[in-house]
Subunit: 377 residues, 2 copies
């Protein structure tokens, strides 16, 4: 039977996600929707009632109390997230939560412990790590005969999201982590995927604020230093990562290079497959060539191999895989190793975000992983 979802805070993301996730109601079905604006909830409920009635609520608490709702997709801004997850936990609801999870890592850990402690499923709504493309590239990253050991990750995630009066991404009282939490989140999830949840030693974050009057993080460049790699018959091998995330691009950039000790891998669409981007509504993409998963394996002086790996539904939306994975977790119960690893990554991401915010408070100096100044890089 389909998992019965309640959606809290329908907005841009929910509008984008829902047609991919709830298209037939067979695996995941919308049962209820809650907005503080009841009219908005009603309009959304009507729009997505093709496969069965959708209840509309004018308060989040009413939806959480609905006994027909099994799982909550929590799409609010960051600030109210922790309280709402804890209310869901108390009501016995599984939760899929948008990212960033909370302003600080301590809040994230406390929140995850509360809901996991009730035997409920909890997952962040990062879609790309669930996409079969990402599973395919992860196999490449883990292939020591091909890549050796990962030593460096460089990634960019830049979008065109200008500041407007209604753009919540620039409101520090609702989204205090700005571009770091919204976009840098993906860079960090990718980095920890490549480094298999290795904990960094030190962190530097260099910030461009939205404007002289708005300190919201518009873009940020982050450099991470990891512990050296020790392999037999070799000097210690430094391990590093760096990324840029920003709302201030004129176009989408989502490229990555992972260096290993034997080869490097690069691809240019680590978050959204270009082929998915190309068929989304209202994009201005004219180049609709399909790129199932095109990556380059490089050795020594140049590109040895440009590989195109075809995976099933390579241009599908990652959110569909995310919700299906969540449904399976609910069906199976317990703690699956892949989800446990993702939640460990979430905590690492948030500890790194804490350190970035501390580095930023100090004017862009290196800090250790606990956020203490005095680190050198």
């Amino acid at each position: 039977m389909a998992l019965q979802w309640g959606i809290i805070a329908p907005g841009g993301i929910v509008e984008e996600v829902s047609p991919f996730v709830f298209y037939d109601g067979g695996v995941n079905a919308i049962r209820a929707v809650a907005s503080r604006n009841l009219d908005k909830a009603k309009a959304f409920a009507e729009k997505f009632s093709t496969h069965g009635p959708v209840k509309a609520y004018g308060s989040y608490e009413e939806l959480i109390a609905d006994p027909d709702v099994q799982a909550v997709y929590l799409a609010t801004p960051t600030i109210p997230r922790k309280i709402l997850v804890e209310k869901c936990a108390a009501a016995g609801k599984h939760v899929l939560a948008e990212k960033p999870l909370c302003p600080t890592a301590n809040e994230v850990e406390e929140m995850i412990q509360k809901i996991k402690g009730k035997g409920l499923q909890f997952l962040d709504a990062t879609h790309f790590v669930h996409h079969p493309r990402t599973h395919a590239i992860t196999q490449v990253l883990r292939d020591q005969s091909l890549l050796g050991h990962v030593t460096d990750v460089t990634s960019s995630f830049i979008a065109n999201l200008p500041e407007t009066p209604t753009q919540i991404r620039f409101m520090v009282d609702q989204e205090p982590l700005g571009a770091l939490g919204d976009l840098g989140w993906y860079n960090l999830k990718l980095t920890f995927l490549a480094f298999d949840n290795l904990q960094p030693e030190s962190v530097v974050a260099l910030t461009t604020p939205a404007s002289p009057t708005n300190p919201a993080i518009m873009s940020m460049t982050v450099v991470l230093k990891f512990p050296d790699l020790h392999v037999p018959n070799s000097k210690p091998i430094p391990r590093t990562a760096r990324f840029v995330c920003g709302f201030n691009g004129s176009s989408l950039v989502q490229s990555v290079v992972v260096q290993g000790t034997k080869a490097a891998v690069e691809w240019s669409d680590f978050v959204h497959p270009w082929s998915y981007v190309a068929r989304r509504k209202n994009t201005r993409v004219l180049d609709t060539k399909t790129y199932p998963l095109e990556y380059k394996i490089c050795k020594r002086a140049g590109h040895v191999n440009a590989q195109v790996v075809t995976v099933e539904n390579a241009d599908a939306a990652g959110v569909d895989y995310l919700f299906r994975r969540f449904k399976r977790a609910v069906d199976e119960g317990g703690s699956a190793p892949d989800i446990t690893s993702m939640l460990q990554a979430d905590v690492l991401v948030h500890r790194t975000i804490d350190a970035c915010i501390e580095s930023r408070e100090l004017g862009g100096v290196p800090v250790d992983f606990k956020g203490k100044s005095g680190a050198r890089m």
Copy 2:
């Protein structure tokens, strides 16, 4: 008549460059070569004497004193460069000098003033800025109807140059600037080309040293903050750049994304055309597809246009264009605007390198463009 060259310090770079530059002796001809090891000079002279006799000297000063030598190609390590340029100037020789020019910007300015003050030609041996591909991409970068104003440059220049007992790049007493001077030089030349020699406000440099016992710069991540752009009817627009340079890649990476206010441009071979890399001897490149100049113009959500621009001899070596440009400068005399601009960029590059070294000395904190701590980023 061909320009008569004397080559000082034949080594790896000279061996690589010479077949492209002196292939017929018609425009640029080798007249003499000097090495502190006379046997090495003799072997080189014999190898390149196809188009006329090449004199071999066992001291640099003898070559500089040779009245038949019109121009000197100075391929020594960085440390002796300034003294040798000044000796060339005193002897009335034009000089093409390998990069980085000197350890500090003050030395560079003094050196350039000395030789230009004699009415002689002087140029750094950065080849890619002379390549017709780079001229074509520069037209794109300057096209305000297409790109708007440049706001951000992200570039990577990573090579596979491991530390060995004879690898001079890791010897701080001869190449004190390590990967920053050797590879970051290209990132910086590109950045100042895109920003039309705009002076940065502040700089951060994060360093990975060669090993616990060798402080040589193996790789460095640099972030630059430029003055905001002011355009009518808009908030101030931040301008930034960042790059990574490193000897510690398993393969060559030389990619760049330039964001403008209207669109972004990305290409993946800003230093050496992939097609040139592919046909160089001893590379392990299996993919020999020709990429004359493939760049992507991106707007909003994705790649609007992948453009392949065909320029004459697109896969030619940049050094050939460099030496031809130098020959023309000698023939024409005076100060050509393009060369003046390149030398201004050289000083900016070296001032930025000074600031990077200062940031590094301080453990990786932001410094202002004069290298003073207390800058915030």
